[in-house]
């Protein structure tokens, strides 16, 4: 198997590692409020990038990154190039805004159809904003491809992919022919740090930009109008913080007091 052509789907999202207190919603607008939470490439998308990079380290090939959205922060999304991907294609347009899993997968499938062939599509197991975990499945169904999920290890062996798939209490080894979709989970391991050479090369590269018309898509098929799932409400549940802090002169004393408190409250 030479020259494995890999596609990695990435999404720019608000940093999911930001402290919960900095996260605010405007319920009336059904959107997040501007804050100092920085945009990043989604957590699981980074694992997907790492999966592709490891396969290329082992047997060679090309990595094309595909991302759908609008107003991409170039430095953020170009990290995918800085870590070593070869090309970046942005489906960037206001028309793509407010997509759901359906309109996202549909547009991505059209974009993939425009590429000169591919062998593997890597996706993160779910996005770090809507946590739907559906786009990988959507691509598999729309493109008629086999899919292996929750990959913690991916290798190319004898013309096929060998994937270690996470199962409850362990993993199983799955072999699948290409072309195929693979979704990646955190057990695969963190995305490598970009090295200076990669960062400089990425700075010089310009992403390819595709609009709905480039994909043969009508306005009604993409973004919000293309949704099959309607967002009715977006809100933060009210949480009444009422933690009773148990004290002590020392940590040990506090620990003993905690046991007494739980006994008093009939918790134990």
């Amino acid at each position: 198997m030479s020259d494995l052509r890999m596609v990695v789907c990435c999404k720019q999202v608000l940093d999911p590692e930001a402290p919960p207190t900095s996260f605010k919603i405007d319920s009336s607008m059904k959107m997040t409020l501007p804050s100092d939470i920085k945009p990043v490439i989604g957590q699981y998308d980074e694992f997907a990038l790492e999966a592709a990079l490891r396969v290329r380290d082992a047997i060679g090939g090309s990595i094309t990154v595909l991302s759908l959205g609008n107003n991409f922060v170039r430095d953020v999304i170009k990290k995918s190039l800085a870590v070593g991907s070869d090309d970046l294609i942005l489906l960037e347009d206001a028309a793509f805004e407010d997509s759901d899993s359906w309109s996202t997968a549909y547009a991505l499938s059209k974009a993939i159809g425009k590429l000169e062939g591919f062998d593997v599509i890597f996706c993160g197991r779910q996005s770090s904003d809507w946590d739907a975990g559906q786009v990988g499945f959507g691509l598999a169904e729309l493109l008629g491809l086999p899919i292996v999920t929750l990959a913690r290890k991916v290798e190319a062996v004898d013309g096929k992919l060998r994937v270690e798939q996470v199962i409850p209490d362990g993993y199983q080894v799955v072999e699948v022919p290409t072309p195929a979709v693979v979704t990646v989970t955190s057990e695969l391991g963190n995305l490598r740090y970009p090295v200076l050479k990669g960062i400089m090369a990425a700075a010089k590269k310009q992403p390819t930009i595709w609009k709905p018309a480039d994909l043969g898509l009508e306005a009604g098929e993409v973004g919000a109008p293309g949704r099959k799932l309607a967002l009715d409400r977006l809100y933060q549940p009210f949480k009444e913080a009422k933690c009773e802090i148990v004290d002590g002169e020392t940590g040990a004393e506090a620990g003993a007091n905690l046991a007494l408190k739980l006994r008093e409250a009939k918790v134990i």
Binding site: P20, D232, A254
Partner: protein, 327 residues
Amino acid sequence: MDENKGVLVYGEIVDGKLSSTTCELLGCGRRLAEQLGTGLACVVAGTGAEGAVEGVCSRGAGTAYVGSASDGIEALLAVAVAAVEAARPSIVLVPHAGFGRELGPRLAFRLGSAAATDCIDVKVDADSGRVILTKPVYGGNALADFAADTTPLVATVRPKAMSPEEPVAGTTCETVALSVETPAPAAKVLDRVEEKVEGIKLEDAATVVSGGRGTGGPDPFNTILKELAEVLHGAVGASRPPCDNGWAPESMHIGLTGKIVAPDLYIAVAISGASQHMAGCSGSKTMVAINKDEEANIFREATYGVVGRFEEVVPAFTAKLKELLAD
């Protein structure tokens, strides 16, 4: 397709019987069907399907569809499509666990319809009559209510989000056999490696002691935390960072992409309380937090807490508990 009515539950069979999540979905499905004025059906397939029919019928399903199929996802998905064609439901409920997380979305895409995953509530809006699906988003920092006009709407439902339906003895229902042809799946399982966890299952434990990033390494999971869990006859869990770092096995991972637990007592040790973790344990009846950082988010979630170093707090806590429980 306006003539689609009815609620269809895709049942999950674990150890030869209906999973507890399926029983929860049957309860949810029965309530939905009542509110929508329609019927409830359930489809089961794979190993143990025939034997699960009684459990389905005794929990309020009017029709049980039994798919003669192997256990692979492609076969189960083909059965799901056949069941939808036979039952013509307006909503399909699938457990958000095991194969369900894959079957739900793939079924929706295959049928050209919509799915919402990891739903914690499914209800009928009194005004519009539409089914509203509620699910956590932004890693659990917010909730979203979704609705759809396409049919059938597919919802994968989080385990333990609903209460299970108790069986009523002596009820029968119509049983329909579905025979589907599935092409041989492209993916082949070559090997399976299961790390059997000894002791009580995390999801079933009445008490869970969990360690977070602040534990700093694998030792506490084998010593301090294990001893505390033993005294309380509970199980040991972990947030994601210890698992990602290899300090604890992935089977201990509690969180949005790990196990969902709802024990009577959840003790979070050196856990910051990030939303992704809270998604896995927020159903706990009583939460206790031990963390050296008084600003940690966990103190906004817990009922009782100690601000201090777990190495000092937990051994003394364990010793006192041992004393009290010996009475």
